[in-house]
C-alpha cells in the first residue's frame, strides 16, 4: 500500500436559497448526496467512507456525523466529522483526497452543508474568537474583513469602486449558474449606493447567508476512470494557518494564501499562474478579497489587482476566469462554501459546467478561507499526475 493517485469523480449540490424551509438539515444534506451519486452513476453501496462538516455551533446541533446519518448515507460506514470554520468545506474535500490517496479507502464521499437561516451568523462567528482579546469589538465576518479592506485600500490606494467591480463580476457570472442563490444582475452603481455595513464594506460587497449543501466523491486510480470519463485529478494542495489573535495579522496581504499558493504551485510545477491556470474558483467572501487575495495567490504584483479586474482579465471571456459559478458573493452556505469551490473547479475540469463552463479547462484551482485569515488551495487537472 502506497500513495495512490486520486480524483474527484462526481459532484452534487442543492439549489441554494436564503432559507430552505422545505427541508430540514438531514434532507438538505441528502439532496446534495443523491445528486452527487447520480452524477457518478453510483449507489451508496459503492462508498467506503463519509466525511461531513459544517460550522457545528451554527444550527445549535452538534455531532452532525451522528444525527444526519440517514441523509448522508453513512449508515454502518466509517463516518468522520470535520469543522474548521470557513475552510470546513475545503478541509472536508482535501481529507477525501488524503483518505483515498493513502489507499485506506477507494471511494470517499465528502459533504459540506449549512442552514444559515437557523443561525445568527454574526453572533455565532464571533464566538469562534477569543472571549477576552477579540470579542469586545469583533463583529463576525463582516467586521473582521472590513478591517482588512481598510488596511489594503490604505496601503495600495485601491478604491471602493475597484472592489465593486469584483462584486459585479461574480454576480454577473452567477446568472449562468442554475444553483446560485443570488441571480439578479447588479451594476457598479448598485454596489456603490448600497447601505454601508462596516466601512468600507457595503451590502452588495459581501456574501449572503445561504441554506445549502454540496457533496463530492473521490476515487483512487483503481476506480476513477471507470466512474468518470474525465476525472478531476488532484495534483497539489497546501493549507496554512497564520496566527493566534486577530491583532497579530499582517492585513496588507493574505499571508497564508501567499505561502499556500507558492507551495502548491511548486508541487504542481506551475511557474506563471495567470498563464498556466485555466480557471479559478476562489473563496472570496467579499469584494475587496477579489483584489488583495488574487495578488496573494500570485496573479499579479501587490497593488496590481484593481487594474487586472477592471481590464476584464478575470471575466468569463478573460485570460483567467475567476468564479464562473458566481462564487461566494452569490452563494454562501458556510460549511459547504469551500467544498463548492472544489466541486465547481472539478466540474470545470470534467466539462460539466453547462452555461458556466469555461472552454478547454486542463488546470483548475480552488481555495478555502477561514476566520483567522487562514487559507488553503487545491490544484485539479484533467491530466493524470
Amino acid at each position: 500500500m502506497g500513495k495512490k493517485r486520486t480524483a474527484i469523480v462526481a459532484t452534487g449540490q442543492t439549489h441554494h436559497r436564503s432559507s430552505r424551509l422545505d427541508v430540514n438539515g438531514i434532507e438538505l444534506i441528502n439532496e446534495a448526496v443523491v445528486r452527487c451519486l447520480e452524477d457518478g452513476d453510483l449507489t451508496i453501496e459503492d462508498i467506503d467512507a463519509v466525511v461531513i462538516g459544517n460550522m457545528d455551533h451554527f444550527e445549535g446541533i452538534n455531532y452532525v456525523d451522528t444525527w444526519s446519518i440517514d441523509g448522508s448515507g453513512g449508515f454502518m460506514k466509517p463516518t468522520f466529522k470535520l469543522t474548521t470554520g470557513g475552510t470546513t468545506g475545503s478541509t472536508v474535500g482535501q481529507s477525501g483526497f488524503y483518505l483515498t490517496a493513502s489507499g485506506m479507502f477507494d471511494k470517499v464521499l465528502c459533504i459540506g452543508w449549512e442552514k444559515n437561516s437557523e443561525s445568527d451568523t454574526t453572533a455565532a462567528i464571533t464566538t469562534a474568537f477569543d472571549p477576552i482579546w477579540d470579542r469586545l469589538v469583533f463583529a463576525g465576518a463582516i467586521g473582521g474583513l472590513a478591517v482588512e479592506a481598510t488596511k489594503y485600500m490604505s496601503e495600495y490606494g485601491a478604491t471602493e469602486e475597484d472592489a465593486a467591480h469584483v462584486a459585479v463580476r461574480d454576480r454577473t457570472h452567477a446568472l449562468n449558474n442554475p444553483y446560485a442563490q443570488l441571480r439578479k444582475p447588479i451594476t457598479l452603481e448598485d454596489v456603490m449606493s448600497s447601505p454601508m455595513l462596516s466601512d468600507p464594506i457595503k451590502l452588495l460587497d459581501v456574501c449572503p447567508r445561504t441554506d445549502g449543501a454540496c457533496a463530492v466523491v473521490w476515487a483512487n486510480e483503481d476506480y476513477a476512470e471507470k466512474i468518470c470519463s474525465r476525472p478531476a485529478w488532484y495534483h497539489a494542495g497546501s493549507v496554512k494557518h497564520p496566527f493566534n489573535l486577530l491583532g497579530d495579522t499582517d492585513l496588507t496581504t493574505l499571508v497564508s494564501m501567499e505561502l499556500a499558493s507558492k507551495e502548491a504551485y511548486k508541487k504542481a510545477g506551475i511557474k506563471e499562474p495567470l498563464k498556466e491556470i485555466d480557471v479559478m474558483e476562489l473563496y472570496l467572501p467579499y469584494s475587496c478579497a477579489g483584489l488583495s487575495w488574487i495578488e496573494a495567490i500570485g496573479l499579479c504584483e501587490r497593488g496590481g489587482a484593481p487594474r487586472l479586474v477592471r481590464d476584464g482579465v478575470t471575466n468569463m471571456d478573460g485570460e483567467l476566469p475567476i468564479n464562473p459559478s458566481g462564487g461566494v458573493i452569490a452563494t454562501n452556505c458556510i460549511g459547504a462554501t469551500a467544498l463548492l469551490r472544489m466541486a465547481e473547479a472539478a466540474i470545470q475540469v470534467m466539462g460539466k459546467g453547462g452555461d458556466r463552463q469555461v472552454p478547454d479547462v486542463e488546470t483548475a484551482v480552488a481555495t478555502g478561507f477561514g476566520g483567522c485569515f487562514w487559507s488553503d488551495i487545491s490544484v485539479l487537472r484533467s491530466k493524470k499526475p
Binding site: 453572533a123 470579542r135 469589538v137 478591517v147 488596511k151 490604505s154 447601505p195 454601508m196 491583532g247 497579530d248
Partner: protein, 146 residues
C-alpha cells in the same frame, strides 16, 4: 423554535499572562507586552508562546498607552453581541492599535465623534475608566490625538 431567556454561563481562564496584563491596567493604567527571546517581537496582548518561533516568552516589556491606528472600521449594522445577548450599540469604531513599543495590534473601541480623523496611521491614546475591575472594559476606548 427559540432558546428564550435561557442563560449558559461559562468560565474562561485567561491565564497568568492575561491576568498580569489586566491587573496592571487596573492598578497602574500601564500596558504590558511580552518579548520573544528568539525573534524579538513584542506581543500585546501578552501570551506564553510565540507561535512562529514556538518559544516560551518570559521578558515583560512596558509599552505606551499611546500608539497608532494599524487599521479600523466603523460598524454600522445592527447585530447581537453573543457576550450579552443584547444588540451592540452601533455605530462604533473598531480599531487595531499598534501601541508604541509593541509589534502586534491591540483591539479596542476608537472614538468616532469626528469620523474624518479616523485614518490608518492616526495617533491614538487610551482613556481609562475611573473605577477599574481588571476587565478589558477598564479601558473605556481610544481617542484620536492628532
Amino acid at each position: 423554535m427559540h432558546s428564550g431567556e435561557g442563560e449558559q454561563p461559562f468560565h474562561y481562564a485567561i491565564g497568568r499572562y492575561g491576568s498580569k496584563f489586566l491587573s496592571e491596567i487596573r492598578d497602574n493604567k500601564q500596558f504590558y507586552g511580552i518579548k520573544c527571546p528568539k525573534c524579538g517581537k513584542v506581543y500585546v496582548p501578552p501570551r506564553e508562546v510565540c507561535g512562529p518561533c514556538f518559544t516560551k516568552m518570559t521578558e515583560w516589556v512596558k509599552v505606551a498607552d499611546e500608539g497608532k491606528l494599524y487599521s479600523y472600521t466603523i460598524l454600522r449594522f445592527a447585530f447581537l453581541d453573543p457576550e450579552t445577548g443584547k444588540q451592540k450599540p452601533v455605530p462604533y469604531g473598531y480599531a487595531f492599535i499598534t501601541l508604541d513599543g509593541a509589534d502586534t495590534a491591540f483591539q479596542h473601541f476608537v472614538e468616532i465623534t469626528d469620523e474624518s480623523k479616523v485614518k490608518v496611521g492616526a495617533r491614538v491614546k487610551a482613556i481609562f475608566e475611573d473605577k477599574r475591575y481588571g476587565k478589558i472594559t477598564d479601558i473605556k476606548h481610544f481617542v484620536i490625538i492628532d
